[in-house]
Symmetry: C2
Subunit: 424 residues, 2 copies
Amino acid sequence: MRILLVGAGGVGDAIAKIAARRDFFELVVVSDYDVSRAQRTVDWIRARHGNDVAARFATAQIDASDPDVVASVAREHAATHVMNAVEPKFVPSIFAGALAAGADYLDMAMSLSEPHPTDPYTQTGVKLGDDQFAQTTDWDAAGRLALVGMGVEPGLSDVFARYAADHLFSEIDELGVRDGANLVVRDEAGNEVFVPSFSIWTTIEECLNPPVIWEEDAGWYTTPPFSEPEVFEFPEGIGPVECVNVEHEEVLLMPRWVDAKRVTFKYGLGEEFINVLRTLHLLGLDSTTPIRVRSEDGPVHVAPRDVVAAALPDPATIGPRMTGRTCAGLLVTGTGTDGIPREVYLYHVSDNEWTMAEYESQCVVWQTALNPVIALELLATGEWEGRGVLGPEAFDAAPFLELMARPVADGGYGQPWHVEDRSA
Amino acid sequence: MRILLVGAGGVGDAIAKIAARRDFFELVVVSDYDVSRAQRTVDWIRARHGNDVAARFATAQIDASDPDVVASVAREHAATHVMNAVEPKFVPSIFAGALAAGADYLDMAMSLSEPHPTDPYTQTGVKLGDDQFAQTTDWDAAGRLALVGMGVEPGLSDVFARYAADHLFSEIDELGVRDGANLVVRDEAGNEVFVPSFSIWTTIEECLNPPVIWEEDAGWYTTPPFSEPEVFEFPEGIGPVECVNVEHEEVLLMPRWVDAKRVTFKYGLGEEFINVLRTLHLLGLDSTTPIRVRSEDGPVHVAPRDVVAAALPDPATIGPRMTGRTCAGLLVTGTGTDGIPREVYLYHVSDNEWTMAEYESQCVVWQTALNPVIALELLATGEWEGRGVLGPEAFDAAPFLELMARPVADGGYGQPWHVEDRSA
């Protein structure tokens, strides 16, 4: 397996560092528009693991917005797999470039949605991933696999859904992804400061788009942002966090392969973050349409959302000043294989102190990066195989979760996941 | 009197329109960096009042940031008075240009403050107007007058303070400016939308700077933003509005000429606006320091606050979609001239429907513009005279308030003001 990793931002950097401890691949080409970022990642691997490990990594400059460039870099390095680790707006070009180069493809976020033109808070328009699923026959005909949504959420959450359907439930009422954290960032003086732990650009996209819900009878439909607020009790000391409906890939992926009456995604944004997002929307600062702004060099045109992102610290840099844990999980309700009503929360927790010490990577970013590496390893060993455009729930969940939880000393990733029984 | 009006934004435009109904001056030169804005104002006057009135108005291009340009335009038109109607950051250059040209000067906001370098929320640093008052001997020596802070607040509020001291009170415990409104802006569909009714740039400056308070024993001191919240009951149907301490010129002006034990300014921002300002600060979007932002033309440098201002509608343009009233007033507590404890609220209310119909100017902007025109008329007739740098309370309040309230048919401005007795 020869992997072209596109993007050496927070998640791309962590993917390379996690892969550095594994031996299922021949080469990882770490590529970025700014090649110095790719070089920094490989330098870290060399410093940490030595020249032999670093020899399985190369760097490349890439323009992810140009399918021809993506294909060309993939061909140059004879890539068998293209791993997309940049912002979702680059999905179409990387997706096309990989297919053109005859490589398999993985991403952690799917092609973007467009709201319904007249009724955005009731009906879906172009849905997340629609552009990718529309090309499934091309991928299938080429004998190639596009494994989409293979981060933590979407990704691990979808693996949990398949596991619950195969092993825990005879009938599923609801698959409800619930994501929450108790992360705190402090400034030099020790005061708590507001810094999103994930790309604010992507967070705005997710949270201000109309949330999508799937129901067996109604199909996919939308609601206004921040709908159906609930306080969810997260495990391992995180505690209660206010969660709201958010547009997320799982709702588009799970119903394609897993039987359930309802699929939802709720994000534990917390009150402060919800207020920040509402205010940005109120002021039009979430907009991606450039506006004219005065500057010392005369009038310029910038998108307000890009300014918001630029004004905040890069989430990849806040790890050293952050404490706490993040939890990714799936609440499943329905009837157990024993015929009894059942409610379980399947989850994985990532602790920032540990990820910083082991990987110099903050926990939200690291938890996202872990899952595509496991998936790549299963594809390399042949335990997972497929063609066309597929979600994580199209594959058997058992070998994924087994490899993930198996201790490092036994050749696994040493990352336990849990099933918490919440049945009344 | 020949007036160089610097700035044809909302307030400058309204000053010219109000002046067009008066005959105390020979010429008003409406100037702006964008001369088409000045032309629009004069075109409106011509359409509304005819060629004879418009003949007393001229237009000019001006760079308000350059004192030499301001002086040169003032000399070219033989201006006797320079009326500053642009953002307070241009105060130093217009102030210097007027003195160099041998003209008297008026403004509606004073030179900006700088917070105390180490203890900003307790001690003052450079205070509002300090730079201007430091030059009073120059103005005095030149025999010229700089009348500073002569809008509505500061301006009318300071006139009220002098009036209360001269006519209503023997001893004043507190001069408390209280400003509030019940303005609502709707979009085309009739839904309420968030649009500040005054320059967001200036509002951020006022509201996020440490509020300043004056006390007889302590002198000037500061507090954290949004301190001492109170719900103030505004008259004429506006009702209760949450008010907080805000840095404002009155607190710096009133103690120089009026005896009082305490001087405060509280702004009826309302909960939503306070939340918006807090959030902008939390995200660093109030900053005036340029940051690097990507754009379609490559990286550019813009100040986040300029982006916030550019993303919102120009407050001068929202008049047609706005309803409600704004109230500027001064709550005075102390001992009446009769020796009995007394509490009165002196105020003036401006109704948007009326200002739009009469002047095509929204009410907050129009109310600001009214007062410098009255002051210019008193200076033209010689009822007010002075030299050096003076605030409105340095002049006799009675002729101002009389001319303001006198019916239009009798040669006044037809703008009644009120004294509401709130004594227990």
